[in-house]
Amino acid sequence: MPIHESGMSSTGSVLVRRHSKLVVSRIRAAWVFLLPMLLLLLVVAGWPLLRTIWFSLTDATFSNMEQASFIGLENYLIYEDGEWFGILADGLWWRAVWNTLTFTAFSVSLELVLGMIFALVLNAEFPMRGLVRAAVLIPWAIPTIVSAKIWGWMLHDQFGIVNHILMSLALIDSPLSWTASADLSLWAVIVVDVWKTTPFMALLILAALQMLPSDCYEAARVDGIHPVKVFFRVTLPLIMPALVVAVTFRVLDALRVFDVIYVLTSNSSDTMSISVFARQQLVEFQQVGYGSAASVLVFLSVMSLTLIWMYLSNRSSNHGGVK
C-alpha cells in the first residue's frame, strides 16, 4: 500500500523520485515475500500437474515411468479394429462418473437442508447454546477415515447398532448389509459424508445468519407476519449469496471424494468415485498412463466447474449484485 500519493506528488521532484524509489523497493520486497510460497506451489502443484498431463499421453507404467513413449490420446479414446478403447469407452469409468454425480447431488442437498436446520436452531437463544455449538463441530473434526470406520461398525450387517435399532423399531425384519449390497452401499457412503460435513455447512450458514440486520425482523414481528413466511421472504433471499458460496465449495469437494468411499466400501464398483477409479488404475494396476488420463479428466471437470463459477460470481459482482 503506497503512502498517500496525492499529498506527495505536489511537493517537488526530489520527493517524487524518492517516493517512486520506495514504491519500486516495496514491489521488489513483495515479490521476495511471495517467492518461497510460489516456488513450493510450483513443486507440489504446477509441475506435477504438467507431468500428470504428459503421462496421460504416454504408455507409462510404474516400472518404466522414465522411458514411457508418447502415444497421443490413446489412453482417452482410440478406434481400433472396429472397437472403441480408452477411458471414454470404459464402462467402469462412466459408472464412476455416475456414482460421483449421484453422491454429490444427494449429499450436498441433504447437507444443505440439515445444515440450514442446524444453523437456524443455533441462531436462536437458548441455555447452553455454546456447548451445543461445540458439539456440532465434533463430526467435522473427526478424521474422515475414522468416521468411515465408526460408521462401518455401526452399519455392520450382523452386529451393527443401526440394524439393531431399525429391527427393534420393526422398520426392517432382517438385517441389511449396508456397505456390501449394490443398492445400499452408495447410500451408506452418503450418510457418512452427510454426518461429517453438515456441521461445516451449518457453520457457514450460521455465520451468514448472524450478519443479518435485526430491524427487518422486528418490523415483521410487529406486523404479525408468520415466521415461516419471514424465513422464505426475508431470511432466505438475504443469505442466498452465502448459500451459493457454501454449496459451491461443497460441490467441488464432493466431486473429489476419495477417503470415505475407499475405507467404507474399498474398490467396489457400486460406489467407486472418479478419484477412486483414477487411484486404482495408477497404484493398484500400475497403469500410470491410463490412470493419469483419468486424473486429468477429474481435474478438467473440477476446474471447468470452478472457472464457470468464478466467471458467474465475477459477473454478478461487477453488476453490483451479490458477491
Binding site: L34, A135, P143, W195, A207
Partner: protein
C-alpha cells in the same frame, strides 16, 4: 390459554430438535468410545452402554510398535506442516494483503485455483517429484506434498486478516525506516497471533486427517501416519475385522482433535468462515 399451550408446544418442539441434533452429532463418537471399552465377547451384543470397562483393546493397540511409530509420524508431519505453512503463508499474505503491485490479483487467482485442485490430479506427477527428491516412504515427503492443500487456505485466511489491520501502524514503521521484514515480524505478527493460531489449527487438523497422499507415498508400516494405519488394521480375514481395536485406535487419534475443537471452538469457526465467505 390457547396461546400458552401453543407456546409450550413450540418450546418443547424446539428442545426436541436440539436433542435430536446432539444425538445425531455425538452418538457415533460415543458409540465408538463404548465399543473400544468392550471385551471381545461383549462386542457382538448391540448395547448403548458398557457395564464394565475393559482396557484390552487399548493395551493391544498401544503395545504395537508400528502404531506408536504411526502416532509419532503423524505428530511430526502435522507439526512440520503447521510450521512451514505458517511461515510461508505469513510472508506471502503480508505481500498480498499490504502491498500493491501488478500481478497481485493473478497470484490470488492462482492460489484460489490451486485450492480447488483434486489431489488425485497431481498424484502421478507428485509421486515422481517425491521420488526424485529421495523422499518416497518418508514423512518429509508427506510434509512437502501437504503444502498443496494447506498453503492455499493459510495464505487466503491470513491475507483477509492482514487486510483488516489498521494502516497507520505500518506507516509509522516505514517512516522510522524499518525494513519490510522487520515490519512484518515486529509490527504485524504480534497483531496476527489469533489468526495464526486459527490457521495453524486448521492446518494441523488437515494434515492429521489426510489419507490419499499418506497411503500412496509411504510403503512400510513404520513410515505411515495414523489414518493409514487405522485403515489398514485387518483381522484374520476380510470378515473378521478386530472392531474393538479399530475403535480404540480411532478414539486415541480423535481425542486430541476433539479437545482442541472444544477449547478453540470460536477461533476455528472464525477461521472457517473467513476462508470460505471471502472466497
Amino acid at each position: 390459554m390457547n396461546r400458552n399451550i401453543m407456546r409450550i408446544l413450540a418450546r418443547s418442539g424446539f428442545s426436541l430438535l436440539v436433542v435430536l441434533i446432539l444425538v445425531f452429532c455425538l452418538f457415533p463418537f460415543y458409540y465408538a468410545i463404548i465399543t473400544s471399552f468392550k471385551s471381545s465377547s461383549e462386542l457382538f451384543q448391540a448395547s448403548y452402554w458398557v457395564n464394565q470397562l475393559h482396557f484390552d483393546n487399548y493395551q493391544h493397540i498401544l503395545g504395537q510398535e508400528t502404531f506408536i511409530h504411526s502416532l509419532f509420524n503423524s505428530v511430526l508431519v502435522s507439526t512440520l506442516v503447521v510450521g512451514l505453512s505458517l511461515l510461508l503463508g505469513l510472508t506471502a499474505s503480508y505481500a498480498l494483503g499490504r502491498f500493491e503491485f501488478r500481478g497481485r490479483s493473478t497470484v490470488l487467482m492462482v492460489i484460489l485455483a490451486v485450492s480447488m485442485f483434486p489431489q488425485v490430479a497431481v498424484l502421478s506427477g507428485l509421486f515422481e517429484v517425491i521420488r526424485m527428491l529421495g523422499l518416497y516412504n518418508n514423512p518429509f515427503g508427506l510434509v512437502i506434498s501437504y503444502m498443496l492443500f494447506t498453503l492455499p487456505f493459510t495464505v487466503w485466511i491470513l491475507t483477509t486478516f492482514m487486510q483488516q489491520l489498521p494502516k497507520e501502524l505500518e506507516e509509522a514503521a516505514i517512516v522510522d525506516g524499518a525494513t519490510p521484514w522487520m515490519t512484518l515480524v515486529r509490527v504485524m505478527m504480534p497483531l496476527l497471533w489469533p489468526a495464526l493460531v486459527t490457521t495453524g489449527m486448521l492446518a494441523f487438523i488437515a494434515a492429521w486427517n489426510e489419507f490419499l497422499f499418506a497411503l500412496t507415498f509411504t510403503l512400510t508400516d513404520d513410515q505411515r501416519t495414523v489414518p493409514v494405519a487405522i485403515a489398514l488394521i485387518s483381522g484374520a480375514s476380510q470378515y473378521e475385522l478386530p472392531w474393538g481395536i479399530i475403535m480404540a485406535a480411532s478414539v486415541l487419534v480423535t481425542l486430541p482433535l476433539v479437545i482442541m475443537v472444544l477449547f478453540f471452538q470460536r477461533r476455528i469457526v472464525s477461521g472457517l468462515t473467513a476462508g470460505a465467505v471471502k472466497g
